[in-house]
Symmetry: C2
Subunit: 682 residues, 2 copies
């Protein structure tokens, strides 16, 4: 630590404090913090765990406002029974000291010459900020970046984050002029709303890329609703990152690629990529990867084709990819690149080279660099191979160009750069205005659930849930609560035959699993026998369940309608979210769903629908007309407003919501109230 | 070329022939092939295109049996109007000369010291064979491999492959003792059956990995059947590689990884991978990648845990991944690795290291190498970073260990090695015996289609198609052909109400698209009015269509049954294949399908079903019992046998086949006969 602090070009003074030594790293050391001549701007603590809380208190008294705790082992209990970490947190709060760590590698701010870390090497100064929850990844990325001449504004190891976390650092880096882009390695987020706020603000200013580990689903979630059970923790992280405008990558290789792209790639203005190459194979691989992501190569303009024809050998590809043949000399590369970059149909160029015996790759790189410098378009380079292309890679890196090792990774770089441009544009459009429920409606909704809350019940009955939905403006099938067969028959006459009969029991959540639902009852005789059948089946499957009666509803026969699920549930970290997907009995087997954090607006509701497979069916096919997508999106929007009106609403399933060209109707609904708990508590 | 030939350690003689020079590359040259003192074993031709056919003839006369044509441009016409390539092919066949190329980089066989290529560098000798259809990828992989000390038995650039292609080379390499594994870069396969035969034989002996480019779907295929339209060309390549036992990778990075794994990784005996690491973050990334592929880390035995407890610091992870903490010294690494490798619960170990300031990575590598050498288990290593881990990587490479740069790529390496072991085991089990249709049944089938062929018709009517299926043992709904409303009513009385009415027209393939189908007709009045409605609708949509009558079938009401599609179609390269998937009207929108080349057996039919999403529904869920999977697989098997019995059968759709717990029934079927043409000709 001491060597790193002294070896950097840090312009300020560095003082050492050591209780036992006079001298640290060749410098005189103070015995105590109190002896320091002034309050330090930053303290770095690498002392035994038990000493940490006291040192933080002393630093606070001294007027120091920031400390990095490198020390690990603060989970151990302190003298008062609380953990040392807790004692440290209290000391920090009382003393007004902000703390990074404990158990971290430290902080590097190369622009200041500050290396307050025990990393094995220093970082280069540059435009990237990196914040990591893993020390090992910190040093690994640092080492990788140095080899590629990638520099950093700040390089921060979070450690156990007892005080300073992602939100504080993101808030700072959002407006830090030395930082052009931010990379995050996240294992978990503790305070969802604060994280979202800070990440959104940062992403509004600059690209923020995240790699999140711990994708493996934790043990089955004890959720009582389909919505809660269907949405995995990782889906919610995905939704949170999307909501904040962060781009998630899946692998360390992609994170490396993102660092390369964000550091070096010029802004990409449009989708039209051209490839200039000396080899068909690599160009096809790049084209495949681009096509798999939905991309289409640029269509070169006739002028460009004519210009290329004028000097390229006749076997050139006569289109994009611009394959200039294996025997290409540097001037052929440079001229092809110049002509292609000048085409108004081209937004960016990917240069792909495979080594040949004709000419060393670095001569080609040297010829191309000035051509690229003279253009304002984004150019990405891919030099495939080993030793033969090393010098070319260095040449391009030195010229500030993005360099990739494989065609597919270069395409990922282009897509990331393109995504960032789109995101910038999207963030500039004004947010959609959503009109909340009226005060009257909110009052009516509260009146409806008040008796349930007063009775201490969590689950609304099916008819209660449908009343809530109806009030919120979501079409529901008429449903009557009855206590026995006679009442059921009367109700059926009221709603009209045929009917559906369902058991009403506070102890049964999945009615059809226990024989508690009979469809399509044509007359009184069938209805009466169904009452008996349900009693018997439920008695068999759930002998302990209390049967309070039966709900009767008109059988809805919309045979070509899609069965959908719409739901709300609560995530422990990020709060309430909406789920949309294929519904019906097979909902969990199909697992065709997408989630989005609340609140929704019309465009996020529409995008949510579009992320499912069932959306392709909803769009219509053959003689099947499109379903009323506007009505479905309106339901999602109303669920979001309903959640706003009822803070106690913690789980809601509408399954199925039937949707066809005539509109939508909810056939079944379940609503759970509670304090705002996570689904994991359900 | 001359320099490469002379610079290698080739022990035989090298003669040069040049029409104008006395001396080539410092050696005396003959003027003509006829002057050569003997027949060369191999000729390498780098002369102008026009001279090539004549030279091949001269070589044949001289007794030479093998030539490499480096020359490009043989597509140009020769003096007789045919292309130079065609003239060369004829000359080669007449002269008995096998030809590699033209337009190729050549051939390197480092074990022989032979470098008959114009690659920019020589290859190291080693166990890998590489065959590529792209010159650029040849040199790129060569360069990459040299930097990683990966060696080759044969390194072959195919060029335009006018004679020698993948089948010849695969057949040779299958039994070549110098070749332990084969890598292929394929752009297209010309002779599907020959390729399949040779690739299957090779994969039986050693791992064959393929990267296939050109995934982008070509323009819409003009297929008249759903089966033909649903199966993309790339799906068929996938099926062909799977059938032959080849493993397909998607990116150049994965091909590089495969080369590393196949060259260096010991056989992996089981699925239980343990991770030994100095950093939590990288280990979680590896665990995530493993989990995403369905893998589970090993559960360490109590003995192992106790042994590790004895010397690891208390903060170690106490399980797999074995996180030995960031301050691990070489001896802690070595001992942890030794203990983990000795655990009988562990089949393979992945060592993941991130650089630290504690100790140089190469000291850790040096300490671990002897421990690994003393074990017989597979060990993969991952050294993340740049300069700080270079020496450690070299140390492991020199020790013959697989080295990866990221945790996810190391996991891919493990999975590939594991896949190879499984494949070896699977190939050792005897093939399933499939009983073909009896001679009587085949004769009956031929009798059924004979009138259609005689009439020169391609499409069977729906009732004809159903008769064929019924004869083949596939349950079909009873269907009667009628000419008018009166006959239709009589037929309905015969099959039983309610009925389905469909138009019969040789000009209509997708009946429901043109209003040619009416479901669920309860009585004669409804049926008669449906006849009128169909006539009107068809007259409106297809005024030119000839209406020959109506088919009448019993309305099948199996409301909980799944609608499936089963089909056969013909691929231009690989011949006939079967398709299975979600059926019904939305078949193309759902695009939930899988394909398999014919012939099928019971296990490949079952595997085909399992590759679709609908298979999860067929397995049963909630109160929905499992569908009769055996009956579905039997239908697929019978389709395969039907195709064998009827070589003229080129397209077949069963859509839908209803499947539930009671079995299966085909509601609609379409069959096209023809000469064995590709679907692209349809």
């Amino acid at each position: 630590m001491a060597r790193n602090l002294l070896q950097g070009s840090y312009a300020g003074r560095v003082w050492f404090v050591n209780a036992r030594r006079d001298c640290v790293a060749g410098q005189l050391a103070f015995r105590t913090i109190a002896q320091l001549p002034d309050a330090p701007d930053l303290a770095v603590i690498c002392t035994p765990a038990a000493t940490v809380p006291g040192l933080i208190t002393e630093l606070g008294v001294q007027g120091c406002r920031a400390a990095i705790i490198i020390t690990a082992g603060l989970d151990a209990p302190g003298p008062d029974g609380h953990s040392l970490a807790e004692a440290t947190r209290v000391a920090a709060r009382l003393g007004g000291v902000r703390v990074l760590g404990p158990n971290c590698v430290g902080l590097l701010s190369p622009g200041l010459g500050l290396n307050a870390s025990f990393a094995h090497r220093a970082a280069n100064a540059g435009p990237l900020a990196f914040i990591a929850q893993s020390g090992a990844l910190t040093t690994a990325l640092l080492d990788w970046a140095c080899a590629r001449d990638i520099g950093f504004s700040h390089f921060i190891s979070l450690g156990n984050a007892l005080d300073v976390g992602f939100p504080d650092l993101l808030a700072h880096l959002a407006t830090d002029t030395a930082t052009r882009a931010i990379l995050l390695y996240i294992e978990s987020v503790s305070d969802g709303p604060r994280f979202l706020a800070a990440a959104s603000a940062a992403a509004r200013h600059k690209p923020v890329i995240v790699i999140k580990s711990g994708r493996a689903p934790e043990g089955a979630r004890a959720a009582a609703s389909h919505t809660g059970a269907l949405a995995g923790a990782d889906d919610i992280y995905d939704a949170a990152f999307r909501r904040a405008g962060l781009l998630r990558v899946d692998t360390l290789r992609q994170l490396f690629g993102a660092a390369e792209t964000l550091t070096r790639c010029r802004p990409v203005r449009g989708d039209r990529l051209a490839i200039v190459t000396n080899g068909g194979g690599p160009a096809i691989l790049a084209t495949d990867a681009f096509g798999a992501a939905g991309g289409h190569l640029s269509v070169l303009s006739p002028n460009t084709l004519a210009s290329l024809d004028a000097f390229l050998p006749t076997i050139w590809s006569h289109g994009d990819p611009v394959d200039i043949a294996g025997d290409a000399q540097p001037d052929r590369y440079a001229e092809s690149l110049r002509v292609t970059l000048a085409d108004p149909q081209v937004d960016a160029v990917l240069l792909v080279h495979a080594p040949t015996a004709i000419v060393p790759a670095e001569q080609i790189a040297a010829a191309c660099v000035p051509v690229i410098a003279a253009s304002d378009r984004a150019v990405l380079t891919c030099w495939i191979g080993g030793e033969a292309v090393e010098a070319a890679r260095h040449c391009c890196t030195a010229a500030g160009l993005p360099v990739f090792e494989t065609p597919e990774e270069a395409i990922e770089g282009f897509l990331l750069a393109r995504h960032q441009t789109r995101l910038r544009q999207a963030l500039q459009s004004p947010p959609e205005r959503v009109v909340p429920f009226s005060a009257d409606l909110c009052r009516d909704l509260r009146t409806l659930v008040a008796p349930v809350l007063a009775a201490g019940r969590q689950w609304l009955t099916e008819p209660e849930a449908k009343s809530v939905l109806a009030l919120a403006g979501i079409p529901v099938v008429q449903t009557v609560t009855t206590r026995n067969a006679a009442e059921a028959v009367a109700a059926a006459r009221q709603v009209g035959w045929p009917v559906v009969l369902k058991v009403l029991s506070p102890d049964i959540t999945h009615k059809s699993d226990v024989g508690g639902v009979v469809l399509n009852l044509p007359d009184a005789a069938a209805l009466e026998s169904a009452v008996g059948a349900i009693k018997q089946a439920v008695g068999h499957h759930c002998p302990q369940a209390r049967i309070e009666g039966f709900s009767v509803q008109r059988m809805v026969d919309r045979s070509t309608a899609q069965e959908l699920i719409l739901g709300l549930a609560t995530d422990a970290t990020f709060g309430r979210f909406a789920l949309f997907g294929s519904g019906g009995k097979a909902v969990e087997v199909l697992a065709d769903k997408a989630v989005e954090l609340l609140p929704l607006d019309r465009s996020s509701a529409t995008a949510l629908i579009a992320r499912t497979r069932v959306s392709r069916l909803l769009a219509g096919y053959r003689d099947q007309p499109p379903a009323d997508l506007t009505a479905i999106a309106a339901c999602l929007l109303r669920l979001s407003l309903l959640a706003e009106a009822l803070p106690e609403l913690c789980e809601l399933d509408i399954n199925p919501l039937l949707a066809d060209e005539q509109g939508v109707v909810a056939l079944d609904a379940r609503i759970r109230l509670g304090t705002l708990r996570s689904t994991a508590d359900a």
